[in-house]
């Protein structure tokens, strides 16, 4: 079991400092949620972990390995899968192609396991199984999000980086997706780093909470405690 350890991470986004010395640990097998207002640096944090953005300084360790500034395609091979913001699927691809895409890099060596993984995600999201031949562009928002997560899951990740899965979705669908993730985490020991603007939903399932504001960690504590801290909530989350 591996922990994700981020220390003193600094990332610039364009000419803006998006992360300004972020440190925290996401424990293995737990759901850690990163919350904060719009522009707090949440997405940049995930993008830096998965290698899409270059860190200016600081380190990211995944278990014993330092993965700072490795290429995304290398990081995913180490078991870190990133579902970026905005239901990132390829609309002209079929549902199956979108899922297969996530396992391309290991399909030559583990073709049988890839098949197993695909059937597993289809069990997890039966609605996708029904639409397996359809183009991803014809799916609803919730289904696309499920598809994006499935695409990440077939890579058999040990750490799932999930960016705003609730964005633009109906509360009922959000609930469904979050519960699927929760169930997956509890049953398989998957480590999850969940970025959410919707702090209530996230803190409800998370074990641990990290609160970001203007690129800095302002609070890092168990989720339950964070949920109870009304001062913190009103200061940074506005409710």
């Amino acid at each position: 079991m591996k922990n994700l350890m981020v220390s003193d991470l600094v990332t610039d986004y364009g000419h803006v400092r998006a992360l300004d010395g972020v440190s925290f640990i996401a424990n293995a097998g737990e759901i850690t949620t990163v919350i904060g207002a719009n522009g707090a640096g949440k997405s940049t944090l995930l993008r830096t972990i998965s290698g899409l953005e270059k860190a200016k300084s600081g380190t990211i360790s995944w278990g014993d390995l330092e993965i700072t500034n490795l290429a995304p395609e290398a990081i995913v091979r180490l078991g870190v899968a990133h579902v970026p913001e905005g239901h990132a699927v390829i609309p002209t691809f079929s549902v199956l192609e979108n899922i297969e895409m996530g396992a391309l890099f290991r399909r030559r060596k583990n073709s049988t396991d890839v098949k197993v993984a695909i059937s597993e995600v289809l069990d997890l999201f039966p609605r996708l199984a029904e639409r397996i031949k359809q183009s991803a562009g014809s799916l609803s928002g919730g289904e696309r999000q499920m598809l994006a997560i499935s695409r990440a899951l077939v890579s058999r990740p040990e750490l799932l980086l999930l960016d705003e899965p609730s964005l633009g979705l109906a509360p009922l669908v959000v609930e469904q997706i979050i519960q699927s993730i929760n169930q997956l985490c509890r049953s398989t020991g998957l480590t999850v780093l969940l970025v959410e603007q919707n702090a209530n939903t996230a803190l409800a399932v998370a074990d641990h909470g990290v609160l970001l504001a203007l690129g800095k960690v302002v609070s890092d504590q168990p989720a339950a405690k964070m949920r109870a801290d009304s001062a913190l909530r009103s200061a940074y989350l506005g409710y």
Partner: protein
């Protein structure tokens, strides 16, 4: 056989080659975001390689294969040596639109260099280029049928290439990866696809497709450092007409151009061929800027 049908057949045979060249352009455009103005320069270069092999007594087929392989190698070299470093530069450049035009300029530079090198190495005399099968039109009693074995060979080869490419892009993992890398590089990278490798592969496939177009078109023209310039322009028009994003569009565009040029030459005046090409290009851009089968949005830069 009447004039119209023979015009159609001539046009289709030429159109198939234009389609191939246009396909090469589309593959690199989709795969690497570059309109490669050097493509037919690369093809010219590899056709010279083939021509030299044949002139030194090697068989057509050996030369054919060597040309295709050197075409894909040349494509890869261009990507690794020039386009990839440029892509890294691009991300650090401040203006996006300008950065997008830089690869175009690079391809023009490559074209100049390839033509100069071919001139220095080989441009003693204008050459022709052989066909692997008879290019004399079939005899039909006293008359002739308006097509040759070579016409059929060209159409056949282009069809096979199209089928292979379709199979490759839709049925294989690497093909899927290449498409993913082209459509959404970020998601592709997050899926573990080595996007820059896929780009190099696009350059290689496109290089081979261009080479093939060169090998097939030069028998009906001559081989000199500049002869294929015209084919590039036609292929570009074909790609735009079909939609730069769409491989099938490129094929349709190629056929439209091939048949259109033949019709204008036969029924109009050959002098109007270039005006017709220009008119077509304008019309498509005004009416359907994304081409016949292009994506919904014109790709900006």
């Amino acid at each position: 056989m009447n004039t119209f049908i023979s015009t159609l057949i001539t046009g289709t045979a030429n159109g198939a080659i234009f389609a191939l060249a246009a396909l090469g352009l589309v593959i690199v455009w989709r795969g690497a975001g570059v309109v490669n103005f050097a493509q037919m320069g690369q093809a010219m270069f590899t056709t010279y390689i083939a021509s030299n092999l044949i002139n030194s007594g090697e068989s057509y087929w050996l030369a054919f294969i060597v040309a295709l392989i050197s075409g894909s190698l040349l494509g890869m070299i261009i990507d690794l040596l020039i386009m990839r470093p440029l892509a890294h530069k691009k991300s650090s450049s401040s203006t996006k639109t300008l950065a997008a035009t830089i690869p175009v300029i690079a391809s023009l530079g490559i074209l100049a260099i390839l033509q100069a090198l071919a001139g220095i190495f080989w441009a003693g005399e204008e050459r022709g280029f052989p066909t692997p099968v008879n290019s004399f039109y079939f005899k039909n009693g006293a008359g002739t049928l308006p097509f040759s074995a070579f016409n059929l060979f060209v159409i056949g080869v282009v069809l096979i290439v199209l089928l292979l490419l379709t199979y490759f892009f839709t049925q294989t993992g690497v093909g899927l990866g290449m498409r993913a890398a082209a459509l959404n590089p970020e998601v592709a990278r997050l899926s573990g696809i080595k996007v820059s490798r896929m780009r190099t592969l696009s350059w290689a496939i496109s290089g081979a497709a261009g080479s093939l177009a060169g090998l097939l078109i030069t028998p009906s023209t001559n081989l000199s450092p500049n002869t294929l310039d015209l084919i590039l322009i036609i292929a570009f028009t074909a790609a735009v007409v079909g939609g730069l994003d769409s491989p099938l569009g490129a094929v349709i565009g190629g056929l439209i151009l091939g048949i259109g040029i033949a019709l204008v030459t036969t029924y109009g005046s050959p002098e109007n061929v270039f005006l017709a090409i220009l008119f077509l290009l304008f019309a498509v851009q005004l009416i359907k800027p994304n081409g016949i089968l292009g994506g919904k949005q014109v790709r900006r830069g």
